[in-house]
């Protein structure tokens, strides 16, 4: 079997796999990163969402041969300690029920916030409409994304403010 090298959650990983193995099964069965879920195997439910070079992608539809050398982030790599604003917001809004789709939901939402820091409801619909949830947590997902966006902005404002203060101190 051919060997491949990927960067997964910031670390280079080398392994052998059949060339047509979907990235999903490399993550789950080879690298034992089971946070990324199998739901349909057909790109229909998006439980398998990961970031491929920063873009939200269906890992069940990406053969490993097409992922060689790319940069992958999975739910396990989103933050080391559930500190990502989305994870915090998900806890605050009590989003999950069964929880199975939630890693995929969060990864789709993370990609959305990375490019649209302050998404409208329409932005959320467009970015999240492929992520299925059988438990009906959608309204809480929407609230959590809005909450995380605000947290991020508050964080960014605070960081900018403390940066500005540091500047002033230095020049003061």
């Amino acid at each position: 079997m051919p060997a491949y090298t990927l960067t997964v959650n910031g670390e280079p990983r080398r392994f052998e796999a059949a060339a047509d193995t979907p990235l999903l099964w490399v993550l789950r069965d080879v690298l034992h990163l089971t946070g990324t879920k199998y739901g349909c195997g057909a790109g229909l439910c998006r439980a398998c969402t990961i970031h491929l070079d920063g873009e939200a992608s269906f890992s069940c539809q990406i053969p490993i041969s097409a992922a060689e050398g790319r940069n992958i982030t999975t739910i396990e790599g989103l933050s080391p300690d559930r500190s990502h604003p989305l994870q915090q917001a998900w806890i605050e809004e009590d989003v999950p029920q069964c929880g199975y789709c939630q890693p995929g939901q969060i990864m789709s939402a993370a990609a959305l916030l990375a490019r649209t820091p302050s998404p409208s409801d329409d932005d959320i619909d467009a970015a999240m409409r492929s992520n299925l949830c059988r438990c009906g947590t959608y309204n809480r997902i929407r609230s959590a994304i809005h909450r995380a966006a605000k947290m991020k902005q508050a964080g960014a404002t605070a960081a900018a403010a403390s940066g500005a203060n540091a500047e002033e101190t230095r020049h003061g």
């Binding site: 199998y38 396990e76 933050s79 999950p96 959608y138």
Partner: protein, 724 residues
């Protein structure tokens, strides 16, 4: 399960640890068991596992105190999203007197001697265990207090438990539970530990945070498919594609040539491809050549199912007969007849069915997302011939259940294969397997006749139902009464409306489609039929649906109260946006009454759009109100998906619905705003997991009736003809 990576990540990590550290295998000593208290779900609250567990901080079988003062509660009901790992933990914590922030909960190991029979369904987990779980907490509390009293030589009356400590105010001494747990576990449990009065609750009724959320936002939650046992193989099972079909022969040579495929094995449910991982199994399966024996139902399709239901609909058994529907219908001034038809439904849990099994000469261990670990153990016992104590069931988190995971087809597959392979095997249903080899909510037909009196009030309700019986199919005779499957007539037999001439009968028929309980069971269709036909009668008599319900529910004050609150919150009767209408439905199931008002419009193409749902649930008592609201949102979404699109297709004797493209479930942009209101005024406690589902199809249908003047008489609704 010695894999340290799994042990560290798993919510089942305690068991993993115990097993790895040895000494606590199958056959734990139950040192004490209180006399049975007459409930299947409630063994004695003193039950415990013996000395080794006590040394580990286990005060009884439910409560463990960690050296750091953490509280770990064992819950013997399956977490499938409905929140039992939180709500049942709240009951224990209430009596235990601990800081909720220090509480964790996990699935217990299935053990009938400790926890009784463990099956999760019927929206019964909390209401059937309200006393048992509080008693478990109270027992542990009393033991901890007794241990402190013993240490201090102080009488019980001078000590009290508070916030994870025992206090002796007279001498200003205190001891943390962690210092007392081991001794507490050796003391005799009290026979009748006192329970708090309702007015003294500090945890029950509060909106605490769910305990299972953190692990569900970072990928660390372990579902069945996430189990990784060392040396584990992965199998897919190819099942007969035709209803009633069977394996004739198969050629495995090409499949076996696929790298990573270990074996191709025939088992009772089909032919299994066993491999090193999912993808190798899938690749091998694609090369597997099976010759099937055809089934005897090659002509069956959805239209045929409907026709066969209608053919027997007059042959039913009478389930209710008030007045004289026949005569009253004959003489009524205004009447109508209608046929209501509903399809087979799949559960479509987002985590497909799966089970991991390890079988050797002496024991069988399962890791399985199951609603019924007890039933899973029984299924494994049947195949292995083992006694109960040789079988260990580890219940993982369930990626959805909705009834489907109370079946054991996937357990059987895994046990057969683990036995044959002499290695741990994880059986994985692909999505297509899950949908095509599913067990389904029955399809059926209703022939309805109704009439109104001279003033326009409902006078006759004659409902003849034909649908295949789940209870007969399962040989579950306690679910049959006088020859009637009680699930088939639930919500109809007990129709709450005061209609003087009310006739209900139900006819069974055998069809070759496997059946199963689906969230809210018979109410999932009956709530729609009854509520939509009620509005048809209102339209016939020129009555407002809310006014008519209020009048005909005179004997049902809780129904009226729920409906009145929904009317108020929804602003029913006030003007809506152009092209929008409100539809109303009320339905009681599993001891809870739910009123829903849906605001609906129709897109240009006739697709209904549900904008907002106001939901009022009267469940008598709400342990975790936010959890109740969760379940209303969830039940509504599932019922909405079924109402608008849910249908399992049968063509030429084959189930052809295979994936989410053919079996749509609601997406975020199709989700209505949901506002849920909980009435908990101390009436008998009802269930919560299911009662949110039944009314929504009726509420949507009734809104469409207003918009178009045409009733919705067949599900799914799909697209409707707009009014010209």
């Amino acid at each position: 399960m010695a894999d340290p990576e799994f042990a560290a990540k798993s919510p089942l990590s305690r068991r993993s640890f115990l097993q790895v550290s040895g000494g606590l295998g199958v056959g734990l000593v139950v040192s004490f068991l209180l006399p049975a208290c007459g409930r299947e779900d409630a063994p004695g609250a003193g039950a415990r596992r013996g000395a080794a567990a006590a040394a580990n901080g286990e005060v009884n079988a439910w409560v463990r105190i960690t050296p750091e003062g953490g509280v770990v509660l064992s819950i013997a009901k399956s977490e499938m999203g409905q929140g039992v790992l939180t709500s049942l933990a709240m009951l224990v914590a209430e009596e235990l007197e601990v800081d909720w922030a220090k509480v964790r909960s996990e699935h217990a190991l299935a053990d009938t001697a400790l926890y009784g029979k463990w099956s999760t369904g019927g929206s019964s987990s909390v209401r059937a265990n309200f006393d048992a779980y509080r008693r478990a907490g109270a027992t542990a509390r009393e033991l901890l207090v007794a241990a402190a009293c013993e240490r201090w030589g102080a009488p019980r009356s001078e000590c009290r438990a508070e916030n994870g400590e025992v206090l002796h105010p007279a001498t200003d001494r205190r001891l943390a539970y962690a210092e007392l747990a081991e001794r507490a576990a050796a003391l005799p449990p009290p026979a009748e530990p006192p329970l708090k009065a309702r007015a003294d609750y500090r945890v029950i009724g509060k909106d605490v945070r769910r305990l299972d959320t953190p692990a569900k936002v970072d990928g660390s939650a372990i579902f069945g498919l996430d189990v990784r046992v060392p040396g584990m193989l992965v199998a897919q099972v190819v099942r007969p594609p035709e209803l009633g079909g069977a394996v004739d022969s198969f050629d495995a040579s090409e499949a076996l040539a696929v790298q990573g495929v270990r074996a191709v094995v025939e088992i009772p449910n089909g032919v299994a491809v066993v491999a090193d991982g999912f993808w190798a199994a899938q690749s091998g399966r694609r090369k597997l050549a099976v010759v099937w024996k055809p089934g005897p139902h090659a002509d069956l399709d959805n239209a045929g199912v409907r026709a066969r239901c209608l053919a027997v609909v007059d042959d039913g058994i009478v389930a209710r007969n008030d007045g004289d529907a026949e005569a009253a219908f004959a003489g009524a001034p205004q009447k109508l007849e209608a046929v209501y038809e509903f399809p087979y439904l799949a559960h479509a849990t987002l985590e497909p069915m799966n089970c991991t099994a390890r079988v050797d000469d002496e024991r069988c261990e399962l890791w399985v997302p199951t609603q019924s670990p007890t039933g899973a153990a029984e299924a494994a016992a049947k195949i292995t011939g083992f006694d109960a104590e040789q079988i260990r069931v580890n219940t993982t988190l369930l990626g959805g259940g909705f009834g489907r995971r109370s079946a054991h087809d996937f357990v059987e597959d895994a046990v057969h294969l683990a036995k044959r392979m002499k290695a741990p095997v994880q059986v994985v249903y692909t999505r297509e397997d899950d949908m095509k080899a599913g067990l389904y909510r029955p399809a059926g037909a209703n022939v309805m006749r109704g009439a109104v009196d001279a003033e326009g009030w409902p006078l006759v309700w004659d409902q003849r139902i034909a649908s295949p019986s789940i209870m007969r199919a399962k040989n579950w005779l306690s679910g049959m009464k006088d020859g009637i499957d009680m699930t088939a007539v639930e919500g109809v037999r007990n129709l709450p409306y005061a209609i003087p001439n009310l006739h209900v009968r139900w006819a069974d028929l055998e069809l070759p489609v496997s059946l199963h309980w689906w969230r809210s069971v018979g109410s999932s269709q009956n709530g729609w039929v009854t509520e939509c036909f009620f509005d048809e009668l209102c339209a016939l008599g020129g009555k407002d649906p809310v006014e008519a319900r209020m009048r005909l529910l005179a004997e049902h004050p809780r129904h009226r109260r729920a409906l009145a609150l929904a009317v108020e919150k929804a602003g029913y009767g006030q003007p809506l946006a152009e092209g929008h209408a409100h539809g109303v439905a009320v339905h009681e199931s599993f001891g809870s009454i739910v009123a829903q008002i849906a605001e609906v419009s129709l897109a240009q193409d006739g697709a209904p759009r549900v904008h907002r749902v106001v939901c009022v649930v009267d469940c008598g008592e709400a342990i975790h109100p936010e959890g109740v609201r969760h379940q209303m949102e969830s039940g509504i979404t599932m019922g909405l998906s079924a109402a608008l699109w849910g249908e399992v297709a049968i063509e030429k004797g084959h189930i052809t619905t295979a994936n989410f493209d053919a079996y749509p479930i609601a997406r975020i942009d199709q989700m209505p705003r949901v506002e849920s209101f909980v009435i908990a005024e101390g009436d008998p406690m009802g269930g919560i997991g299911e009662p949110g589902t039944p009314p929504i199809a009726g509420a949507i249908g009734n809104a469409i009736l207003k918009l178009t003047g045409k009733p919705i008489r067949r599900l799914p609704i799909g697209r409707v003809e707009r009014m010209a």
